[in-house]
Amino acid sequence: MTTEKQYRVIGTRPVRPDGVDKVTGRAVYGADVTLPRMIHGKILRSPHAHARIRGIDTREAERYPGVLAVVTAEDLPDVDVVLAVGEGGDVNMRDASHNIMASGKVLYQGHAVAAVAAVSPHVALEALKRIKVDYEPLPPVLDVRKAMAADAPLLHEDLFTDTMGQRSEHPSNIASHLIAEEGDIEQGFREASVVVEREFVTHTVHQGYIEPHAAVAEWRDDGQLTIWCSTQGAFSVREQVAQILKHPISQVKVVPTEIGGGFGGKISVYLEPVAALLSRKAGRPVKMVMDRAEVLAATGPTPGTYMKVKVGADAQGNITAAHAYLAFEAGAYPGSPIGAGCTTVFAPYRLKNVRIDGFDVLVNKPKSNAYRAPGATQAEFAAEVVMDEICEKLGMDPLEFRRKNGAKEGDWRPFGPPYTRIGAIECVEAAQASEHWKTPLVKEAGSSRRRGRGVASGYWMNWGGTSSCTGRLNPDGTVALLEGSTDIGGTRASIAMQFAEAFGIAYERVRPQVVDTDTVGYNDVTGGSRVTFGTGYAAYALAKQMQREIAAKLAAIWEVDPESVTVEGDRYSAGDKSVNLVEAANLISEQGQQVVTSVTTTPHNRSGAFATHIVDVEVDVETGKVEILRYTAVQDVGKAIHPSYVEGQMQGGVAQGIGWALNEEYIYDENGSLRNASLLDYRMPTALDIPMIETILVEVFNPDHPYGVRGVGEVPIVPPPAAISNAIYDAVGVRMTTLPISPARLCAEIMAKNSARA
């Protein structure tokens, strides 16, 4: 490990700049934006999961008093097939266009077919009832395995399977088949003394961000389009809207509002282009806000899956071979996070013989989208449950097994160069040393309750991406720091802290703001755990660049060689001349000059984040209900810039992972109608369902970042389902291989086990 540097700002826990506004209700979110003359848009959605649209008659809605515009797919331009690598999967812009307004066919219940703008939301809703859509219902395909069958109804007659660049002969619902292979698995399984193979099923799960999607669009007569919206990436919205509407990108300005959660679900546009079209037609600003049912039924959840994992190990507990078959539901258009599933499935392990097959499969459900470590939670759930069973068969301690087989720098990984410096093993060791692991668990808890402990590891890769920042030195020596990265998890604080550290000033003297796309340089989306890493990197570069500019300007004033100006904290000196930042700012401004500096950086980030979690559960064996008693999350965070926010990310990820493990799922009927499109019946955990989550921060320096930062936001959602399933096994002796492990599912397994024994 590198020697610990002494930091002034990094590692402290200052108050976040956006905190007061948020807790006092002053912060402006998507639905809070109001413009003069603004009207309201609503979307008509398909009641069918799969149907051909024979015709749409909007005449009566257009005549309805108070209606100012009606649009359908006919109003959208024909979009080119541009494949953009998006968060969690590839985005074909033509598909994206059809997803926001169905063209020819509806492919899931909730698919948008028309939109109305009117003087009030109520009038718009009444007008929607007057739009007549003539549907020819088609049989829906709702299950990934059925969709893969040769005789399955096809969602797209022109879709063929791409197997590593080769196209299938016949059209299929399988959009792609990825293969990653190393060594010889046949040989590896022959060398094994224990082999475990299991099948897994998981269901569609939503990110569950509390703020529904909202957008306001104003299309002026001169073609200038401004969009206010809640998004993870204003520049991405600008690009998507420009492409979908075939409008010059220079004429689109996106103003990001505060965001009430996204977790990957607020990257794709849904409302923005529709609001823009309605605004163009109506000649007035248009606001659109989804309700909760629309959010659940018609945005981008993370896919359900069918998976099969087989692992072999020798008698000493070395993994000899591993095979994963992962089939992910893309939803209505290609682009599930199958690639990421393949990359992460066995990531915590050093493997010599491995094969991974991944399938991206279309079904009549909403187009899936990124959700915190997209694809990894499903894939690693399967792998980590199998690893637990291997340990059981070998009689081996599951953490010792993970330490022994842990991946290290230089080890193979699928779809990428070998690992760089990573902290997989360090996390396992920290878990072994934890209070939690060392405290024995009493298994009996009354006549109908049993307790168990489980562990699981997880991995999520890091992404660098492009970030830009602008800094302006104010006369009082403070710095206005303009950013373009949506702040979801406290990044205004973590970026300002890195800037303050590098610039030699106090954190309180930095004023970070997230600004619109015309005001700051390009920024990739807030996603891929990248902002504290990537935008922090840009802020560091900005600080250094501003110091050089200040030094150069002072050198000109002092008539000395710029090289001779030294910087020590906020003090600039050359020979007998020495000024602090306030004095420097004034000297420079007396010359009629200002320090306004912009940088754009695209750092490599070859690292990744590993985590190991420990959980104790209590199972009511008579009802199948699981209580989480204690939870410890250990994670390699590189360097915790603001430890509270790192802990918050870890706790939040675990909370979502617990929901996924125990109760969250989309429930469809046989026609493909979503039955639980409300937060009453789509059961996310409440405060009473989750204990205080203990965190252990492991800091293995990331050589790709000046302060050693790793992305921390995503990996904590990965281990919980497997850890909980393993703990349940420890408690009651049944292997739960379907998510969620709802009381009904667990109770049925426990009863089956009891009657088999009787």
């Binding site: 109520h122 009802t623 409440t686 009904a744």
Partner: protein
Amino acid sequence: MHAIQYAAPRTLQDALEILQEYGAKARILAGGTDLIVQAGTGARSVDVIVDGKRIPELMHLAFDPADGLTIGAAVPCCRIYEDPQISRRYPGLADAVSIIGGMAIQGRASVGGNLCNASPAADSVPALIAYRATALIVGPKGEREVPVERFCTAPGRTVLGEDELLLSLHLPTPPPRSGAAYLRFIPRNEMDIAEVGVGVSLTLDEQGTISGARIALAAVAPTPLFVPEAGDSLAGSAPTEESFRRAAQIARDASRPINDIRGTIEHRKHLVGVLTRRALERALERARQAG
């Protein structure tokens, strides 16, 4: 556009007149935690909302050892469990009203509304049945009384005529050596609708033998389900694990659940058995404490 009228009568008479004028298009508003939600989603179409909270009789809550407990139809749940005397005398009712929704909901939601909404999953109804509660109904032709187990007729439907309203609920004073309990199963720890609910009451004689018991179920039939034969099976028996299991089995056999998003038939039937036994155990404990 659909506009809704709001009326806040101050007397029972005024309220009844509005009901007579608008019939099925008018609905009484108590806490509104069902009505407003249903009107918002279009699940119930309403033209006139008649707020009952200004009518004194509907907000009346009183206990008297001789007469028992009277709960005005619009009294919010929190007033019941915050009253120490009532929650001590009617712990089975307190069980139910303190788990409806969360604290914010309990500040508004009424037992009357819970009953009139006629959801098969309503939490307070099995407890009311276990306590032999009766519903006092008023209409243009005067008052009538209906046992709570006969109040709901189908999901969302009750014995109330279009021109009638629920005035109050009446629970007799529990006999000595009696106890009651309500248990509900939900997948999370709050904010869920019952997958199964079981309300029970039992009374012991001086020797400690069960002299009578009542068992009612939630979420396993189109209406809250009273299972008299389950309670009757306990009369004359000692309160043992075996007699409780037998009663639980009868309750389980009587239940007629469906598969829906909140539970499966198998799990629900199984839970009826488990919860009935556990509720009986808790009621027994309370009966023994009551002395």
